[in-house]
C-alpha cells in the first residue's frame, strides 16, 4: 500500500523522524538511527572545534547520502539568530530544509511564536523549506502555514519532558484546518505516545530524547518505528465507535 509522505516537494520514506542529540557517542547515534528506520535526522549547527581537529564528525557516522539531514536552529532565542543559523545551515548542508526554532524561555523551551512567525515568513521568502516548531495552538499553526511553512510541527509536550501528547484535542483541531503536513515535535516519551500522535492523524512524529534517554536506546528506536507504523495504519483503518455497553462478537445462531 502506497502511503508516501511528501513535504515541501520532498518524499520521505519514514513517518518517524529522529534527532541525533544526547547519545553516548556517535556509534550509538548511528545504531539508534538505523534501528528507528528513519530516513531523516535532525542536527544542530555549532562551531567547529578548530583547536582539536581529531574530534570525529557526526556525518562520518550518519551518511548524508543515506539520510536526509534536517538542520535545526536549536538554541536560538531571537529572530536574528534563527535567520543566521538557518543561512549557515543551508551553506553547510545540501538542502533548503530547516527545522526552525525560536525558543522563548530556557525553562520551558516553549517557542516564541511571534518571533517564529517572523522568521518563517522571511525564510520562506528566501526559498527555505521551513519546518517551524510551534505550540499546540491551531491559530498559530494556520498563521505559520499562511506565512509559507512547508509543514507545522506542534509540540506534544515540552522538549525532553516525555509527557506525551498533552492536548490531543488541539492537535486534532490543527489537523482539521491544516493544508500542510502536521508533525508532532517534542513531548513523546514512549512508544504509545507516538502511536497516539499518529492515530490522531499526524503525518509524522519527531523523536529524540525518548529514544536517547531510554535504558536501551536501540531497542526503543525499534519500538518507536513499530509504534509509528501501527498508529498510521490504525488511523487509516478507522477505529470502531466507542459504546458504553458490551456488544457480543460471537453469534447467537447455533447456540444450544
Amino acid at each position: 500500500m502506497e502511503d508516501k509522505l511528501i513535504v515541501g516537494g520532498i518524499e520521505f520514506k519514514s513517518r518517524l523522524w529522529v534527532g541525533t542529540g544526547k547519545y553516548r557517542d556517535f556509534d550509538e547515534t548511528a545504531r539508534a538511527v538505523e534501528a528507528s528506520g528513519a530516513d531523516v535526522v535532525t542536527v544542530a549547527v555549532r562551531r567547529v572545534n578548530i583547536t582539536d581537529r581529531k574530534t570525529a564528525n557526526l556525518l562520518d557516522y550518519i551518511d548524508p547520502k543515506k539520510y536526509k539531514i534536517l538542520p535545526n536552529t536549536a538554541g536560538c532565542y531571537n529572530v536574528e539568530d534563527a535567520l543566521r543559523y538557518s543561512r549557515l545551515a543551508r551553506e553547510a548542508g545540501v538542502s533548503d530544509m530547516i527545522k526552525l526554532e525560536v525558543i522563548g524561555d530556557e525553562k520551558t523551551l516553549f517557542p516564541d511564536t511571534i518571533g517564529l512567525l517572523k522568521a518563517t515568513e522571511e525564510l520562506a521568502k528566501e526559498g527555505f523549506i521551513v519546518f517551524p516548531y510551534t505550540n499546540d495552538d491551531p491559530i498559530m499553526a494556520k498563521r505559520l502555514e499562511n506565512a509559507g511553512a512547508a509543514a507545522v510541527m506542534p509540540l506534544g509536550a515540552p522538549i525532553g519532558s516525555g509527557l506525551g501528547i498533552r492536548n490531543p484535542y488541539n492537535i486534532k483541531i490543527i489537523l482539521e484546518a491544516a493544508k500542510v503536513p502536521v508533525l508532532v515535535d517534542a513531548g513523546v516519551g514512549t512508544a504509545s505516545d507516538a502511536t497516539i500522535a499518529m492515530e490522531l492523524g499526524c503525518d509524522a512524529v519527531l523523536i529524540n530524547t525518548a529514544i536517547a534517554d531510554a535504558k536501551d536506546p536501540i531497542a526503543m528506536a525499534e519500538a518507536m518505528k513499530h509504534a509509528v507504523i501501527a498508529g498510521r495504519l490504525s488511523f487509516k483503518a478507522g477505529r470502531m465507535g466507542k459504546k458504553l455497553y458490551a456488544t457480543a462478537s460471537s453469534p447467537f445462531d447455533g447456540m444450544l
Binding site: 547519545y23 562551531r47 581537529r53 564528525n57 545551515a89
Partner: protein
C-alpha cells in the same frame, strides 16, 4: 595578520578563506563559513580574501534534536 576565528584570537599568513580552512585542517565540504556576519557561499571560499581584524565563524553539524 590577526583575526578572530570561532571566538578566539588567531594569527595567520593565509590570504584566502580556503587557505585558512586548509591551515586549520577543516574539510571545506562539511562546514559553513561566515566572515563579519556574512555567510560565504561554498563556491566563493577559494578566492574570498581575508583581512586584518576579520571575525570568522566556522560551523558544522553536530548531534541535536530540539531546544537548548
Amino acid at each position: 595578520m590577526k583575526i578572530r576565528v570561532n571566538g578566539e584570537d588567531y594569527e595567520t599568513s593565509q590570504q584566502t578563506l580556503s587557505g585558512l580552512l586548509e591551515e586549520m585542517k577543516v574539510r571545506s565540504g562539511r562546514v559553513a563559513v561566515e566572515v563579519n556576519l556574512k555567510v560565504i557561499k561554498r563556491a566563493d571560499t577559494a578566492d574570498y580574501p581575508i583581512n586584518e581584524g576579520d571575525v570568522i565563524e566556522v560551523v558544522n553539524f553536530v548531534g541535536g534534536g530540539d531546544g537548548r
